[in-house]
């Protein structure tokens, strides 16, 4: 956390608007920041392996003689899948936030401030009610469709409106999300599904074991796709006119970005649940440090996102050991504080409007 938390205070490392300009200072900061975040991920991963309700030490693993050993089974069935789920969900949500930021040209838009997550939850509920006991894949597909349509609606709403203040955009998204989740809650209440809904609204990894997280590999594919097209997203972030004159099909890039964001959000909601502020805080801190060139910022965002979720999860597991606090709750507290810092910092420097 130390690397990312220090970011807002660096005076020379903030970009005026999504743009592919990188100062010399930023270039120097890049390897150091990446290395720092990477180290954090490694430390977090080791901690995540050996922290939990069941006792497990590295010595146990070394002493194990066969695959059926208790320690090995613990890693294979519970700790390992959990670590993978953390890494996949964290990095993908971070990248999704970064994409949303570029697509809307607004630093404060992310899947959680554009209603994407809430639409995915509504889709899950609709699938649960109308399709009955469908497989998880079926529910996920419906959730993806809802997330896609909802986010497209949000973008359409933004295009048709002249908004004087950039901060209105996330606010409109948040309100839209609140309204959507209000409707979802009312329907869930009516259908006696409030508890089921709770699983998707509060990010929680305690139920993640082998066989219940594999869907998350989909988000790796989506993230890779985003990386492959990173330069196009960077150009699209310069605005529609500039992008078109540079020979980029702006509409196609926006559609691609929407699909990536919707798939990532829906899959993460299905498997883990919502993790508040993740897609908002991580891309902001990374681009403050590295600038807005996606080819550079995207891997760093993925690493930092994973580090953020790992740190939150380990803290949640240590605080009331041997019980645990859901990762979504810890992320809500840590991310909320960080977001307030970013928000006030940005406004003080005249950014965001």
């Amino acid at each position: 956390m130390t690397t990312t938390a220090r970011a807002p205070r660096r005076p020379d490392t903030h970009a005026p608007a999504p743009a592919a300009r990188g100062s010399a200072g930023r270039r120097r900061a890049s390897p150091a920041a990446l290395a720092g975040a990477g180290a954090l991920v490694v430390v977090g991963a080791v901690a995540s392996m050996f922290v939990g309700a069941a006792d497990l030490t590295p010595a146990d693993l070394l002493a194990a003689r066969s695959l059926d050993d208790r320690a090995v089974q613990l890693v294979l069935v519970s700790r390992g899948p959990r670590l993978l789920a953390l890494l996949l969900a964290g990095s993908a949500m971070g990248v999704a936030g970064l994409l949303m930021m570029h697509l809307t040209r607004n630093r404060f838009v992310s899947p959680s401030t554009a209603g994407t997550v809430e639409w995915a939850q509504m889709g899950l509920l609709v699938a649960t009610i109308s399709l009955g006991s469908t497989s998880v894949v079926g529910k996920m597909l419906v959730a993806v469709v809802f997330a896609l349509l909802g986010t497209a609606l949000f973008l359409r709403l933004l295009r048709s409106l002249v908004l004087a203040d950039a901060l209105v955009v996330p606010l409109v998204g948040l309100m839209l999300g609140a309204v959507v989740s209000g409707v979802t809650t009312a329907v869930a209440y009516r259908a006696d599904l409030l508890q089921t809904l709770g699983q998707w609204t509060a990010g929680d990894l305690s139920g993640v074991i082998a066989g219940r997280y594999e869907l998350l590999w989909l988000v790796l594919a989506a993230t890779a796709l985003a990386w492959w097209h990173a330069d196009r997203f960077t150009v699209a972030g310069l605005g529609e006119d500039t992008a078109v004159s540079l020979g980029v099909d702006h509409g196609a890039v926006v559609r691609l970005g929407l699909v990536v964001v919707a798939v990532v959000s829906a899959v993460v909601v299905v498997v883990v649940g919502a993790i508040p502020f993740l897609g908002l805080v991580v891309p902001n801190l990374v681009t403050l440090l590295l600038g807005d060139d996606l080819r550079r910022a995207l891997p760093a965002t993925a690493v930092a996102g994973a580090a953020f979720v790992l740190a939150c999860d380990v803290v949640g597991r240590v605080m009331i050991h041997p019980y645990e606090i859901p990762v979504g709750t810890v992320a809500g507290v840590v991310g909320g504080v960080l977001f307030l810092a970013v928000l006030l910092h940005a406004r003080r420097r005249g950014l965001g409007s």
Binding site: F108, L161, V162, L163, A164, D165, L167, V168, P170, L171, V172, L174, M175, L176, A178, V179, G182, V183, T185, A186, Y189, R190, A202, P276, F277, M319, I320, Y323, I325, P326, T329, V330, G332, V333, G336, V337, F339, L340, L343, L344, R347, G352
Partner: protein
């Protein structure tokens, strides 16, 4: 409190007018509208009368509709609930109008700035640190006083650190900060309640987390008195508040001790928010709906119109909504959700409208 600097300007302004008894053409009304002030006045009266009639009707309906057992059993039960809802409506309406006047904008409400969620957080932290036994056996008045104190400190801090330093153009930033604070507080509440002993957590949930469906009637006598006192304080300063609503510089120029009125108003707001949250739990968008709908229906910012009208709208939304949902649609506990959905849509509308007006250069 009597004869202090705050009250004097209002009295001296009110006396020369000397039209108080009949009140057909009040002097302050004329200032803004040279023509048709009388007609406008009559229209406002009709609006308030209509609101009053609707509210009264919904109150009666809540009492008598769908009675299936003995009246002697139903009436006291529903009477308590009705009284609680009325107290909450008045508290929410008044506190929102006050808060909006003091912060000089129409989108912020105490609930949006995270007051409600802070109240729940304070209760949770109290149980976590002192144990549920200590909290529950403590004098409810003491408990209430401590909770109000924390809210008050939060309000003053918020005012000193954020509200005062920003200009009116920064409303959006404030709302965003408020929304994030709300999420932060409720995440903290969740976190603390996870740390709690499961028994403590259950007690907490049962006794401290009231909702519109399950009103906490134990606190009713205390809170009713508190709200009445607050209302009395507000009514005595209605005209001072009108002046404060003109903005800090203008208010000071007109001889009002602005920061003092602001501090006192925030104190009243903290008390009223504590009352409503203690009785029915957080209602994020009710205040926004009540205050803005009242202002739009009346077409005035004068507090002697907006305060009662906002209270009426809030009570009507709570009681009428409860009758409609519980007895007509069989949907009981979801009233808070419905109010939040409608209120959220309304806030969206306000934001978009403000954005468009700003773009056209109509607003700063």
């Amino acid at each position: 409190m009597s004869g202090d600097v705050v009250v004097r300007p209002a009295r001296t302004r009110a006396r020369p007018g000397a039209v108080r008894p009949g009140d057909t053409s009040p002097a302050p009304d004329r200032l803004g509208e040279p023509d048709g002030a009388g007609r406008e006045h009559a229209r406002r009266r009709r609006v308030v009368a209509l609101l009053g009639a609707l509210t009264l009707a919904s109150c009666v309906l809540l009492m008598v509709v769908d009675v299936q057992v003995a009246w002697s059993f139903v009436l006291p039960l529903r009477g308590l609930k009705l009284a609680a809802l009325v107290v909450v409506g008045v508290a929410v309406g008044t506190s929102t109008v006050l808060f909006q006047t003091v912060t000089a904008n129409r989108i912020l409400t105490p609930a949006i700035m995270g007051f409600d969620s802070l109240f729940v957080l304070v209760q949770t932290v109290a149980v976590a640190t002192l144990g549920s036994f200590a909290v529950l056996t403590a004098d409810p008045r003491l408990r209430f006083a401590v909770e109000v104190g924390v809210l008050l400190v939060f309000g003053l801090l918020l005012h000193a650190l954020v509200l005062r330093r920003t200009t009116s153009g920064d409303v959006v930033l404030l709302v965003l900060v408020g929304v994030v604070l709300g999420t932060l507080f409720s995440s903290l509440t969740l976190m603390v309640s996870r740390v709690l002993d499961p028994n403590d957590a259950l007690t907490l949930q049962d006794l401290l987390f009231a909702s519109v469906g399950t009103v906490d009637a134990q606190l009713l006598p205390l809170t009713a008195v508190v709200v009445a006192l607050c209302l009395l304080l507000v009514v005595r300063r209605l005209r001072v508040l009108d002046v404060v609503a003109l903005g800090r510089e203008t208010a000071i120029g007109l001889g009002v001790d602005h920061s003092r009125v602001v501090r006192r108003s925030l104190a009243v707001v903290a008390v009223l928010v504590a009352v409503s949250t203690a009785l029915v739990g957080p209602l994020t968008f009710l205040g926004l709906l009540a205050a803005n709908l009242a202002r739009e229906a009346l077409g005035t910012h004068l507090h002697r119109w907006t305060v009662p009208a906002a209270c009426l709208v809030a009570v009507l939304a709570l009681v009428g909504g409860q009758v409609l949902l519980e007895h007509v649609l069989g949907f009981g506990t979801a009233l808070a959700v419905v109010i939040d959905v409608v209120g959220g849509l309304y806030l969206l509308l306000l934001l978009l409208r403000q954005g468009r007006a700003t773009a056209k250069g109509l607003l700063p």
